[in-house]
Amino acid sequence: MANVLDGIVLGLQFGLLAAGLTLVYGLGGVLNLAYGQMAVLSAMAVALSMEAGLAPIPAVAVGLVAGGLLGLLLDLTILRPVYRLHGEARVLLSLLLTLGMAFVVDGFLTWRYPTKALTLRIGGGPVEILGVRMVRGGVVASVITILVLGGLLLFFRKTTLGRAVRSVIEDEEGSRLVGIDPQRMLRLILVLTGVLAALVAVTRSLVTPVSVTAGFELTVSALIVTVVGGLGSVGGAILAGVILGIISTVAASSIGTVLSLIILLVAAAVTILIRPSGLLGVEE
């Protein structure tokens, strides 16, 4: 039971991470391989602000702003030429350019701060949930993640702006006809996903340290969860994240890390093969 709850904590973070990736892909056909690096860079912004003497909450705010700015920066710089292409060529160029960006960020961080890691600690003892004692940091992280995911779903269901974004994902041409500017929506979502990446980094650091080299692994996890959940589907990303999170922690505690990772990967592969459009993806 404890493992299942731990799995949910991990899975919610996977889901939040994948939600960011899936939105940008669904909206603009852009595959952002620098996504994990955006999270790590925001985490370092938080760590550095705290070292400079800022209290944790304002430092986290700095991190979130940094994440959003990174998203905006991507949109204004290296993604410009990507927007001129369409279809597969667009995906490929976005993937190559953001890969370069990922190297730049990784290179910069390992050069300047080779050993830095962000760890946020929350005082107080374990919390009891369903008769299981949970680490307080993990519970707080999950509550924050659930609130953000809930807010995200509400944003897409209830607000005009959110509906506009969804209509672009479903039918770009049609949305243009009713006066929505897909390019502006994409910029908005890139900023939003930058903030989400920062949030993942912050909530993750409540559970385990987020090191400067974590970027690549975060991106790969997000990619797999995104595809298992269905491209362009936030709900699917959350569902896939939680399922894979539970599989991962339950397997890890019963049979060891290497084998559990293999089981996790095979589970992901089988899901994709059974439902090639993803858990909640739209059949094409």
Binding site: L31, I78, P81, L85, G87, E88, A89, V91, L92, L93, L96, L97, L99, G100, M101, A102, F103, V104, V105, D106, G107, F108, T110, W111, P114, F216, V220, L223, I224, V227, L231, V258, L259, L261, I262, L265, V266, A268, A269, I272, L273, P276, E284
Partner: protein, 342 residues
Amino acid sequence: MIEDYTEGTGTAVVGGTEQRASRSLLALIWPIALVGALLSLIPLWLGDSRVMMGVSILGLTFACYAVGFNLIFGSTGQLFLCVGALAGIGGYGSAILADRVGLPLLLSVLLATLASSLIGGLLSWIAVRRSLGVIFTGIITLIFSLVFGNLLLGAAGVTGGDGGFHIQMGADTFLRQTIPPYYLMLALVLIFLLTHGLLRRSHIGWAFRALRDDEVAAELAGVDVSRYRVYAALIGAAMLGLSGSLFAVTEGTISPTTYGFAQVDVETLVMLAFGGIGTLFGPVLGAVVITIINELILDLGQLRLLVYGALIIALFLWVPRGIIPTLGDLLRRRRSPARREE
């Protein structure tokens, strides 16, 4: 998005006479011979340095990987993100068969190549059966890569785990000298180029092009799209397995990072995309340029990764479709300016 530049492909079929066919065969062979002649000069220049020859051999190995990957991804649009894993099946497979099982070297290499060909074909067959798109094929094969990497670590008793595998076979032969392995890998590059070139000229090549340009139209015209995809994966994966296993034999030591996703797949994709996806010589050109860049920035130490990333961004901002397609466009525009108007 992908252009095609084999000279003479048009005449071979439209003309159809034997004379034209043989001329276009020549048109395929002389550029490959030229590439071979140019690359065979490298040891005259760098042959004294064991380190530089090592770098060159690795560069040629990557050229082999890129040609194999090009056959799968460039010709039939299957994004195989398991280049390193398929090469690793060749490398680890032949090392285990030769050293642990005791089979002769050639037989080990052959069996390991066959294994990676079959696994590549199987992956392609699965992707085709489930009609997975580019991204989905990419993720499935990426998952396969990660599983392979973990298996190497998990089965440390057989593979040597993190520390790697010191290969006995081929030790004390010409395979471990400084220069002969270079020519071995160069021969492999040229054979692969010739194979890919001949495939493109055959009916298989026409099927490749048809399904790449418009899959539905190709299917309607009677091209068995799925069969040709699996063929391409079988041949391409055999190329990857063979180059991975010959590299292992000449190198003497392999470890999970020799065939790691970050080390091989990312690099191969960058090389191919920079040279020109779907072009015959793009993969070799890309491999040469990226290998030189890697060597030039080696002295930067910790800044290396940062500069490498910045260079990748700069290269793809400069030629988003790769060097050879961009050059081809420039040449064609000069030759027939009026045609560009359409």
